[in-house]
């Protein structure tokens, strides 16, 4: 079966989020006073064909390790549709 897996990648705590800071300032400048802070990360969706949702998650985790996530500065979370 084909599973859609969503991967949410964000910078680790303590790593400077230069994009987030710039967006924050820009939104504040446009009058969004309720805004406290912004973090900008990546949203990657992969479709994998595996026997189970669990396998799909494992496969996606491997992809994160292999390429999608730079573990020196980033952290990630995975959601499998239908899991």
């Amino acid at each position: 079966m084909t599973y859609r897996v969503s991967i949410f990648i964000e910078l680790q705590e303590g790593v400077l989020d230069i994009q987030g800071k710039a967006v924050e300032r820009s939104l504040a400048g446009m009058g969004h006073d309720a805004l406290r802070s912004v973090k900008v990360g990546k949203y990657i969706q992969v479709w994998v064909e595996t026997g189970s949702a669990e396998d799909a998650r494992k496969e996606a985790e491997r992809m994160c390790d292999d390429l999608l996530v730079n573990s020196v500065i980033e952290q990630f979370r995975i959601e499998v549709e239908g899991e």
């Binding site: 230069i18 994009q19 710039a22 967006v23 820009s26 400048g29 446009m30 900008v40």
Partner: protein, 234 residues
Amino acid sequence: MNTAVIVFPGSNCDQDVMHAVAGSLGTKVRAVWHKETTLPEDTDFVILPGGFSFGDYLRCGAMAARSPIMKAVAEHGRRGGLLLGICNGFQILTESRLLPGALLPNRTLNFVCRPCFLRVESVSTPFSSLFSKGQVVQFPIAHGDGLYTLPEEELKALEDRGGVVFRYSDSDGLTGDDANPNGSANNIAGIVNERGNILGLMPHPERASEALTGGEDGRVFWQSILESFTKGGR
């Protein structure tokens, strides 16, 4: 003709554009900081220069398009005033919806900087009137997000109305895929709005405005603008 060059934080071709315009035309050029809310009163021609406004963070040109000065810039364009966006400036124009479409990352996903041939597709704009139709000119490119895209029907409409002013080509004017440096739809390098007063282009005419640094094809571009202005008084 009084030219205003808008400077955003992260713009890096503002000085170059001012140097090229002043050097090619000898007309008055002023820098205007993005936080201003009005253009100098006698402004005839507005340029959004290249660079990495706001670091190109989020999307290229997105934050600059929301800068305070942009209301006045859009108003200038709406009144029919001459408005030019080069490279990052082009991205700012599409992000401001002053021009249709969007610029996506180059298909190689790499930044590319090199001299580039362009075929002049339309000479009925104030920016290209001194070229001849089909002429091949050389302006350098230097961008990471230059793939111009537009939904199919809109693309057709743009082509039908002659909105494409420059197309990437080879030195013979052939516009094959080989001559496309970034994967742009129909090899599009520069487009003009319906009214013909707002031009966006990825290549850098200011980098082709002196024999010593990049050639002189860009001088014709600047002279076209001056001549159209002098004639039409826009």
